[in-house]
Structures are given as structure tokens and as C-alpha cells.
């Protein structure tokens, strides 16, 4: 029989390091607190980069505009021509904000997806969300099929949204019916990608030349067709989704240790996964509906965030969102600067500019 210990082991005290001088305690805690401080600084830096790239994005364009004119037009000051005011309010600002919001939405969707599916390759596009959205858009552009009674300008985005959102609901229904964890969801998603790509190809096959051209441009992803309504809808979606996922940051972090362990810690994994997928599908479907296919951000922004701040979701979620917003904002800037006088589709630029940055980060990390 073991004698009862006179003093319980240290961890049974609510404040185990309470004994001993204050300096010893502080020294013991310092490395972790330093790390937390470093991460806060990194997240703040990402926010800083985002603000700078957003401002540069707003003042850059075919019509030269300095920061003076920008402020003048914003606040209705003297010395600003009416055309500058119109350019700012109806072109530059909505486009720059769309870039930021779509980047944020796709990055948040990708970050949550990679965590709940425990797969670093997961992104809204891996699971066929964009393929489904493309098919919806193809139906509208090529066959003119869509919800009756809609103004023609809303036909494509509404169709894309319905198909993208529907694809995730179908995915969840399949997964719920067959049971199963993240592997099966990903396999369903891949099946969905191939199915919708085949359907898109079929639609393209019967398309007229002009409809085909219009559709191909849609698939390249462009932020030049969005206005304040789209900005408001996207802003609302991000404003609802981000706090909701930040509220479950500890559960998401715990899920990184595997489903069994998380469940044993009391995390309701099935519900967490379902609600997160709903958030993901809303964000991704809206992004696809308004700007077409911009695939790269949702995959890469979480990876960059992970390299910078790790997977404590207190920092990982905001860092992903800010990274995604900054990447797409910089891509929007680059799309105006890369070829003078030509506005490249942003979906192409994201990949061209983003991939070298991503490679540099991975290689730097390996050798570092």
C-alpha cells in the first residue's frame, strides 16, 4: 500500500508555480509569453500589409490618382473633379473591397476546411464547390437557364451560388448517410469535382462561340464586375462567419490532435464539422458567385498563416483571413500593373504571383 503523499504533486495545485519568488515564475513563463507576443505582432503586421496594399490598390489604375485626391474624393473636399469622385466610389473602392473580402472569405473557408477535414490539401475547391459553381454559371451563360423572375444581371451569380451551396449540402447528406470521417468527405468531394467538370464540358460542347467566350472569362475570376451590393453581401457573410469560427477556436485547435482525442476532451466533433462546413460553403459559394474561380487563395493563405503563427487557432484563423485578404488585394494591384493598359483577370494573377511567394516560404522553412 502506497503511503498518502504529504503534499500533492505540483499539478494538483490550482496555481502550481505559485510557490517560489515572482522572478522565477516569470522566467519560467517568459518563452511562451514571448511567443504569444511575437504572434500578435505577426498578425498585426499582416493587418498593416493589408491596409497598405488596399490603399495602393485604390489609387492605382488607368486614371492617375494620388493619396491627396483619394482623401479629397472620399470626404468630398475641394479640388477633386467629379469624374475622380465617380471613379473612386463606383470603380476603385468596390473593386478593392471585393478583393479584400473575397480573399478573406476564401482563406477562412480554406483554413476551417483544412482543420475539420484534417487535410492540408483541402480548400473550397478541392470539394467541388467551385466546379459546381462553374456549372451553375455555365447553365446561365450558355443555356440561359436559371431562376425565373431574376433580373438578367443576377442570373449568373445566383445560379453559381445555388449550385455551389447545393454541392456542399449534397456532400454533407452523402457523408451523413454513409457515415464516416474526413477521408470519405474528401473522396466524395473529388468525385464531385470530376462530375461537375464533365457537366461543364458537356455544356461547353453545345455552346455558341460568343457564349463560350463569355463563360471562359467568367471562369478566370474577375473582380471588375462587382458593385456595392456584392460588397455588402460579402462583408455581411465574413462578419457573421469569422466571429462564429473564432468562438470555437479551442475546439478547432483540439481537433488537430485527432478525432478520438478531441471527442474525449468533450469536443462535439460531428456538430463542429457540420457547422463549419455550412460556414465554409456559404463563404465559398458567395465568392464563386461574385468573382468566379479564384482557387489559389483558399489553399495557400492558411499555409502561409500556419508557417507564420502555427496552428493555435487564436492566431491561425485571423492570420489566415488577413493573409488571404492581403494576397488577393496585392493580386488586384498586380493585375493592373503587370501589363500596362491591360487589366488581367485576377484569378490568373493570384496564381502567378502567389505561387513564387509560396515556394519561397516553403523552401526558406526547409533550409531554416
Amino acid at each position: 500500500m502506497m503511503p498518502a503523499p504529504e503534499t500533492p504533486p505540483p499539478w494538483t495545485h490550482p496555481m502550481p508555480l505559485g510557490a517560489g519568488p515572482q522572478t522565477v515564475r516569470d522566467q519560467r513563463m517568459r518563452p511562451y509569453l514571448d511567443m504569444v507576443r511575437r504572434r500578435r505582432f505577426l498578425v498585426a503586421s499582416m493587418a498593416g500589409i493589408l491596409v497598405v496594399s488596399f490603399l495602393l490598390d485604390v489609387v492605382t489604375g488607368p486614371v492617375d490618382m494620388g493619396f491627396g485626391q483619394l482623401i479629397g474624393a472620399l470626404f468630398g473636399l475641394e479640388g477633386v473633379t467629379p469624374s475622380e469622385t465617380v471613379i473612386l466610389w463606383s470603380v476603385r473602392l468596390p473593386q478593392a473591397l471585393t478583393a479584400v473580402l473575397v480573399g478573406a472569405a476564401l482563406a477562412l473557408a480554406g483554413a476551417e476546411m483544412q482543420t475539420i477535414l484534417d487535410n492540408p490539401l483541402a480548400s473550397p475547391f478541392t470539394l467541388g464547390v467551385s466546379a459546381a459553381g462553374s456549372f451553375g454559371a455555365a447553365l446561365a451563360v450558355i443555356l440561359g437557364a436559371g431562376l425565373p423572375g431574376l433580373p438578367p444581371i443576377w442570373l449568373v451569380p445566383v445560379n453559381a451560388f445555388l449550385f455551389a451551396f447545393g454541392s456542399v449540402l449534397l456532400l454533407q447528406a452523402l457523408a451523413a448517410r454513409c457515415g464516416g470521417g474526413s477521408d470519405r468527405l474528401i473522396l466524395f468531394g473529388i468525385a464531385m469535382v470530376f462530375t461537375f467538370n464533365a457537366l461543364v464540358a458537356l455544356t461547353q460542347f453545345v455552346a455558341s462561340e460568343s457564349a463560350l467566350q463569355q463563360f471562359v472569362f467568367w471562369t478566370m475570376g474577375s473582380i471588375s464586375r462587382t458593385g456595392w451590393t456584392e460588397v455588402a453581401v460579402l462583408a455581411l457573410a465574413v462578419a457573421v462567419a469569422f466571429p462564429a469560427s473564432f468562438a470555437v477556436r479551442w475546439q478547432l485547435t483540439a481537433l488537430r490532435f485527432g478525432e478520438d482525442r478531441a471527442r474525449s476532451f468533450g469536443v462535439p466533433v460531428a456538430r463542429l464539422r457540420l457547422v463549419a462546413l455550412l460556414r465554409v460553403s456559404l463563404l465559398a459559394a458567395l465568392a464563386v458567385a461574385f468573382v468566379g474561380t479564384i482557387g489559389f487563395v483558399g489553399l495557400v493563405a492558411p499555409h502561409i498563416a500556419r508557417l507564420l503563427v502555427g496552428e493555435d487557432h487564436r492566431f491561425f484563423l485571423p492570420a489566415s483571413v488577413l493573409t488571404g485578404a492581403a494576397v488577393l488585394s496585392l493580386a488586384s494591384l498586380a493585375s493592373k500593373l503587370l501589363v500596362t493598359g491591360v487589366l488581367l483577370p485576377i484569378g490568373i494573377v493570384t496564381s502567378l504571383v502567389g505561387i513564387p511567394v509560396f515556394f519561397a516560404l516553403i523552401v526558406g522553412r526547409r533550409s531554416g
Binding site: 502506497m2 498518502a4 503523499p5 500533492p8 504533486p9 505540483p10 499539478w11 494538483t12 495545485h13 490550482p14 496555481m15 502550481p16 508555480l17 505559485g18 515564475r25 519560467r28 513563463m29 518563452p31 511562451y32 511567443m35 484534417d118 492540408p120 479551442w250 475546439q251 485547435t253 483540439a254 488537430r256 490532435f257 485527432g258 478520438d260 482525442r261 478531441a262 471527442r263 474525449s264 476532451f265 468533450g266 469536443v267 462535439p268 500556419r306 508557417l307 502555427g310 496552428e311 493555435d312
Partner: protein, 262 residues
């Protein structure tokens, strides 16, 4: 003796295969360690996962007047912590973050201050001898160190029922003893019940108050380690000729000689 964990008529299975059928054990008293031993595929892990609520199970597992199998997940998580065999690969978190998360996500940890959580996590890591690793990335640890981190995640939650699946399988002798001593400390000071799946019968003989020997047919033997693990029982359960001898310190230990031939 005070509280105890009483398992009776437990049935667990997967859709096409019943793994545990009508399993009953004598009451497992608080403050004791129960080793679950047996050949592969005997249902050791299944037993622990069922008690942790990770598999649907029939029967009863009574603790403190309630049936833990019938508790809601959140209530059960307050009582029971299950530690799977391994930490997953590719997790970009540090050791201290891993342990703090285990506490943060619990109902007790939700209201505690960050400093208290950090202090508790640090103390558990110190106790397990890995305090110096707290800022290391989990992915850079050795298998044994990862196992200790995994144990720290379980112990920091101070569960009343601690279920450990092979906590010593990747550890060198010093760490094996360290782990079992830490488990012993935890059950003694908190009055917890620990059920530990072990492959090393000598660890079971050395540390367990009760041994449960499972085979595919169910419980083959249960009781004090030196009573339950006899040469005849072991030879029969494992299909290997086994001897139980006395060491020079007077402790029993098990030797396996050869596979039982035709």
C-alpha cells in the same frame, strides 16, 4: 473504500462484429491502476474507447451513482479522459500549446486565466520530465517524447477516470517507469481510476493493483497481478509457453520461452 468504477454486462461491437460481449469486472477502486493486458485483437482498445464514449456500448459502467455510458458527451468529458496510442503527425503546435489546449477546451479551463492554464501545463510537463521541451514543435519530437506529451494532455485535465492506450509502447525503460510513476501519483493524489492498456506484462506486475487479461473470448483472468497472471493462464491466453518467476527483489516477473507447439 470510496468511489469505484463498476463495469457490468458491457457489450461493444462494430456493425458486423461483436468485439466485447457481456463483459463484467469487479469494482475498480479509486486510487488504483488497472492494467488491461492480452494478445492482439482481444478488444483492449475497444474496451477503453467504449468507456470513453467513442463507440456505442450496451451494459453499464457505474461511477459515483451514474452510468458513464449514458452521460452526454460534455458531462462525460468532465469525468473521463481517453489517451489514444499516438499523437497525429503534421501538427504545427508546440508542446506547451498542446497541453494548454487540452485544458482550455475543458469546461474547467474555459474560465481560467491564461496564466493559470499555462502554469498548470508547465507543472505537468515538469513532472513528466519534459519541461525543457515546452517550446519545441511537436513534430520535431521523438516517438517517446510525443507519448509523454500525449500523457501530459490527459493528466492535465485531472480526470476521475483515466484511460490510457499503451502509454509506454515507444518509451525506453527510464521513461516507462517515469510514465507509470506519474500515473500512480495522479491516481493516488486525485483518487482517480486508471485503466492502462499494457503489452509489457512485467510493467503490469510491477505497477498495477488489478490486472484484466482479455482474450477474444472475453475476460480470461482478473484480480491482483500475481494472482491473475499465472503460467498456465498466460500460456493459454497468448499461446506461448510462459513462466512466472521471482526476481532477486522478491517481485514476480514473466518470461516467455517459445510458441506452444503441436
Amino acid at each position: 473504500m470510496g468511489k469505484a468504477l463498476e463495469i457490468s454486462r458491457l457489450c461493444v461491437g462494430y456493425p458486423r462484429r461483436q468485439v466485447i460481449d457481456d463483459l463484467s469486472l469487479p469494482a475498480l477502486a479509486c486510487g488504483t491502476i488497472t492494467a488491461v493486458v492480452g494478445p492482439n485483437a482481444a478488444g483492449k482498445t475497444t474496451l477503453l474507447r467504449a468507456l470513453a464514449g467513442l463507440l456505442p456500448a450496451g451494459g453499464e459502467a457505474r461511477y459515483d451513482g451514474g452510468n458513464i455510458l449514458k452521460l452526454k458527451p460534455a458531462q462525460r468529458a468532465r469525468l473521463v479522459t481517453y489517451m489514444p496510442q499516438a499523437l497525429p503527425q503534421g501538427v504545427a503546435l508546440t508542446v506547451i500549446e498542446a497541453v494548454m489546449t487540452a485544458l482550455r477546451v475543458s469546461s474547467a479551463g474555459r474560465d481560467a486565466s491564461g496564466r493559470t492554464i499555462q502554469a498548470c501545463a508547465g507543472a505537468v510537463l515538469d513532472r513528466l520530465g519534459i519541461g525543457h521541451l515546452e517550446m519545441s514543435a511537436i513534430d520535431e519530437l521523438s516517438g517517446g517524447q510525443r507519448q509523454l506529451v500525449s500523457l501530459a494532455q490527459a493528466i492535465v485535465r485531472r480526470p476521475a477516470i483515466l484511460l490510457l492506450d499503451e502509454p509506454t509502447s515507444a518509451l525506453d525503460p527510464a521513461h516507462q517507469i517515469g510514465v507509470m510513476a506519474a500515473v500512480k501519483d495522479h491516481v493516488a493524489s486525485d483518487g482517480a481510476v486508471a485503466m492502462v492498456v499494457l503489452h509489457d506484462l512485467n510493467l503490469a506486475l510491477r505497477w498495477a493493483d488489478t490486472v484484466v487479461l482479455l482474450t477474444e473470448g472475453g475476460v480470461r483472468a482478473v484480480g491482483r497481478a500475481e494472482d491473475a497472471l499465472t503460467s498456465a493462464v498466460l500460456s493459454d491466453a497468448y499461446g506461448v509457453v510462459a513462466r512466472v518467476e521471482q526476481s532477486s527483489l522478491g517481485r514476480p516477473y514473466v518470461l516467455f520461452d517459445r510458441i506452444v507447439g503441436p
